[in-house]
């Protein structure tokens, strides 16, 4: 079954109903744009208003294509020489549609930014735009040059180093403020370590992870 079709009706509502039955999905999960709106009621009786729409069902494929188009447009407007590819297959999990996009650029790091700030900005904006168009439940992941994986690895290393410091000094170690995703990476990296525990402190963009040495850590046995 096609995911994208064009339909006509006397009103947007009417065209949507047709699209709904042709696509075989409920009206609520259809995203549409009005292509043409003509009002010929002055010509004669029976003609009336005509609305032509392009309707799209909300599927992993249509969400992925729309997200790709949105990100490509942003890059074009920035006059960056890069192409966007849909990585893996978009999938549906727990009612969330996950889309994975990869930017293939010149490798200059311009699209990554400091600690991935630019990459995160693309991801945030594309998510906002896509979730608006498809009324929620979409998660778009944006990556380039395998940055996400590298970041995860370097954060895991940092976490281990800092946990050693906490154990040695027996004092809490505060990390720099990190994004929610990065904080999760740190918590995950240290969750198996019984000699320390981790928690987050602070608010909003200033939220940071603290590594706290557990009382009476193993390894230093008394008696």
């Amino acid at each position: 079954m096609a995911d994208v079709i064009e339909t006509e009706g006397k009103s947007v509502e009417n065209a949507l109903e047709k699209a709904s039955s042709e696509l075989g999905v409920e009206k609520e999960s259809i995203t549409y744009e009005v292509l043409e709106e003509t009002d010929r009621s002055f010509i004669g009786i029976g003609m009336g208003k005509k609305v032509k729409i392009r309707a799209m069902a909300k599927t992993p494929e249509t969400v992925a294509e729309t997200a790709k188009k949105t990100l490509s447009t942003l890059l074009d407007l920035m006059e960056v020489n890069a192409v966007v590819e849909i990585q893996d297959k978009a999938l549906m999990e727990d009612d969330m549609i996950h889309v994975f996009l990869e930017i293939i650029g010149d490798g200059s790091g311009l699209l990554i930014g400091k600690h991935g700030a630019t990459l995160d900005a693309f991801q945030h904006l594309v998510n906002k735009i896509i979730n608006r168009r498809f009324s929620g439940s979409c998660n778009v992941h944006v990556d380039t040059e395998n940055y996400r994986k590298k970041r995860e690895e370097s954060l895991t290393q940092l976490a281990r180093r800092m946990s050693e410091k906490a154990k040695k000094t027996r004092k809490p170690v505060f990390l720099v403020p990190l994004s929610a995703k990065d904080r999760k990476t740190v918590h995950m990296a240290l969750k198996e370590d019984a000699e320390i525990h981790t928690k987050s402190t602070g608010e909003g963009p200033m939220k940071r992870v603290v590594i706290i040495p557990s009382k009476r850590a193993s390894g230093t046995s008394f008696n």
């Binding site: 920035m78 006059e79 311009l110 630019t118 900005a121 945030h124």
Partner: protein
């Protein structure tokens, strides 16, 4: 350079009233000031929770400006 168009595209894709989106650019030699006007009820949409969306727009704008050795400042006006 299409800084104006870039901000306009992002803003229009985020708001409920795209027709109320107005973007103007005051170009300086090194620094450009981009003014973004949106409908009052759309202000929250371009700013986002804890200013996250506004920050994302500014970050993208900075990256695009860096490419041409310029500096851009984004002002969001109601």
């Amino acid at each position: 350079m299409a800084m104006k168009e870039l901000v306009e595209y992002i803003a229009k894709a985020l708001v409920d009233n795209p027709d109320a989106v107005k973007v103007s650019e005051i170009e300086g030699e090194k620094t450009s000031v981009i003014e973004l006007v949106v409908a009052k009820e759309d202000l929250g949409k371009v700013i986002g929770k804890q200013g996250r969306t506004a920050r994302a727009i500014r970050t993208i704008l900075s990256a695009a400006s860096t490419k041409i050795n310029k500096h851009s400042v984004l002002e969001i006006i109601e």
